[in-house]
């Protein structure tokens, strides 16, 4: 059963068709990668679905409900969470407080101004558990701004994960980190997401990462969906290889030119 469907979704920036009549369907529990050259519309698509940008036309159906006109907060409450291409955390809060705040928000407790946040044992326990899952336990009391780039990326994802979403969008979670850290970050994300049965859509440029972790790959070009299929199907698709690599052939994705 599809957890998310977009129907003829459009978002233009003047003459540029960032999202052009996109009909996308994501199944419950899938790990989907969204790939494409720069400017293909990947980030714009998840910006529209997560309500960072309004849709020009078309519909977004999430768990059977039309959410096209709902606000960011309403979509978060419905179960959609996301991380960002450029790290988006609360720099002057501690790593622990970043995650704890997301938990308070999920529990509907952020309007509570009569109790001390750090005395909520349930939230403390859960936040510590999440920080340990993401390997950030040792950094819990330091400010988020003092974390290394890879750790900040993980915190960005941990913030979204703490909302216990049904659908999680991850926008380039490994960009700007070393090759060694990439594998570690993706292993952490994949184990957490698959362990909880969360549906995940990841925007990624590194095709090794995409082929290793995805159940399905959606290829975008010029705002539209060019192709979609399993990693093997995409690997064999010459049109995709041409668009992504500028060359085709049976070993286009593995060849080291």
């Amino acid at each position: 059963m599809a957890i998310l469907q977009t129907i003829d979704l459009k978002r233009y920036f003047g003459e540029t068709r960032a999202v052009d009549n996109v009909n996308l369907s994501i199944e419950q529990g899938e790990f989907v990668s969204l790939v494409g050259p720069n400017g293909a519309g990947k980030t714009s698509l998840i910006n529209v679905i997560s309500a960072l940008l309004p849709a020009e036309s078309g519909r977004i159906i999430f768990r059977g409900e039309d959410i096209t006109r709902t606000s960011t907060t309403e979509r978060v409450r419905a179960g959609i969470a996301r991380s960002f291409q450029l790290v988006n955390v609360f720099d002057n809060l501690t790593t622990f407080d970043n995650v704890a705040l997301a938990i308070f928000s999920r529990q509907g407790k952020t309007a509570n101004l009569g109790s001390l946040a750090h005395l909520d044992e349930d939230v403390n326990r859960e936040a510590d558990g999440i920080l340990d899952q993401f390997g950030l336990g040792a950094k819990r009391d330091g400010n988020a701004r003092d974390l290394a780039q890879g750790e900040r990326k993980l915190l960005d994802v941990a913030l979204a994960y703490a909302l216990k979403p049904k659908l999680l969008f991850l926008d380039e979670p490994t960009s700007g980190v070393s090759t060694r850290d990439k594998g570690q970050i993706m292993d952490t994300i994949a184990s957490v997401v698959r362990g909880e049965g969360i549906t995940a859509v990841i925007v990624e440029h590194d095709m090794d990462v995409v082929f290793t972790y995805s159940d399905r790959i959606v290829v975008m070009a010029q705002g539209a969906i060019l192709a979609q299929g399993t990693p093997d199907e995409i690997r064999r698709n010459e049109q995709v290889a041409m668009v992504l690599l500028g060359s085709s052939g049976p070993d286009a994705f593995t060849r080291k030119d």
Partner: protein, 330 residues
């Protein structure tokens, strides 16, 4: 399990109790005039504390907080002059309701914007109130203001009054403790607010409003709530100031007074909880002695502000905390 991220409560209570004890004992050693100055300092500290919920914790710089201070003060004056009610507790109640209504209305307009647009809108709205107080002299007394008769004031539901011989001295010493108790309550309430989940959400909005929205924080509504709380604290300060000053005039609604509240907060340090308190008390002394010592007192205050911003950008408390941190690391 690791310790939670948060202040140590027992240590904090000890420090707070010591500070409260020092403040309670001070009038015995400093005389009538200094006690009076300290009452002014404490009332301004409540205003700065409220103002800093917006600046330090929510990231919104208001140049219009004179409106809420003035609303509190004028409400006390109206209650006494027009309703002939002289109970301070009823004046506080009336003043808080008026501050709530005004900040709810102005806040609804202002929080739709951020940065300079927010600041200018807050300033413009406060000036509307100032012009009303200035022009509608048959209601507000215009530049003459409205007298707030101390000798008819009663505290603690009529238990204390200030008539007869030695009334002024009795008023100053009694009113000091009255304001001190309300000041301590205000500090405790604000401390809980900024350390509550709501306070954390405000800090998240200050740091990154886009991400705050993406973890489900209703950004605009929380900004409005912070605005209202901030306005009510500043209103309380105005309420307490009115009987002490004995007169309300449009000066307290005018934009330079909003600037003074900003000055107090920056002087003490807006990135710390206690900064605005220290800044307000220090600013009050600074202004009083600058006015007494030179006709160019505005120049003195201006120079102090320039030096503070350039040399000590984290304010008095921020600088002390930084130095103590350095010492501890050695």
């Amino acid at each position: 399990m690791p310790a939670t991220t948060g202040p140590s409560l027992p240590r904090l209570l000890v420090v707070a109790a010591l500070a409260a004890a020092v403040l309670a004992l001070l009038p015995m050693g400093i005389g009538l005039y200094q006690t009076e100055l300290l009452i002014y300092g404490l009332t301004f500290a409540i205003a700065a504390l409220g103002f800093n919920l917006l600046l330090g914790y929510t990231g919104l710089l208001s140049f219009g907080h004179s409106a809420y201070f003035g609303m509190g003060a004028y409400t006390v004056a109206f209650i006494m002059r027009d309703l002939h009610i002289y109970s301070m507790e009823l004046c506080i109640l009336g003043g808080l309701v008026a501050s709530f209504l005004l900040s709810a209305l102005f806040g609804y307009v202002c929080v739709r914007h951020t940065r300079i647009f927010f600041s200018i809108l807050a300033l413009a709205l406060s000036q509307v109130l100032w012009s009303l107080a200035f022009k509608f002299f048959w209601v507000t007394g215009g530049t003459d203001g409205i007298r707030v008769p101390r000798n008819q004031l009663t505290l603690l539901a009529g238990f204390l009054d200030f008539k007869g011989a030695g009334a002024y001295q009795k008023f100053v010493y009694t009113y000091y403790y009255y304001v001190l108790v309300l000041f301590l309550i205000a500090v405790a309430v604000m401390w809980v607010i900024v350390h509550s989940p709501f306070g954390k959400a405000l800090q998240a909005i200050r740091d990154n409003e886009t991400r705050a929205g993406f973890i489900g924080v209703p950004v605009r509504r929380y900004r409005w709530m912070a605005f209202v709380i901030s306005g009510m604290f500043t209103g309380l300060a105005g309420i307490l100031w009115a009987p002490l000053n004995g007169l309300t005039t449009p000066d307290i609604l005018y934009w330079p007074f909003s600037g003074e509240i900003v000055f107090m907060t920056v002087l003490g340090g807006f990135r710390t909880f206690t900064g605005p308190i220290v800044g307000a008390i220090a600013f009050n002394y600074l202004k009083v002695y600058a006015v007494a010592s030179s006709q160019y007192w505005q120049l003195v205050l201006g120079l102090v502000l320039v030096v503070m911003v350039m040399v000590l950008p984290t304010g008095i408390v921020g600088t002390i905390a930084h130095l103590l941190g350095k010492l501890r690391r050695r």
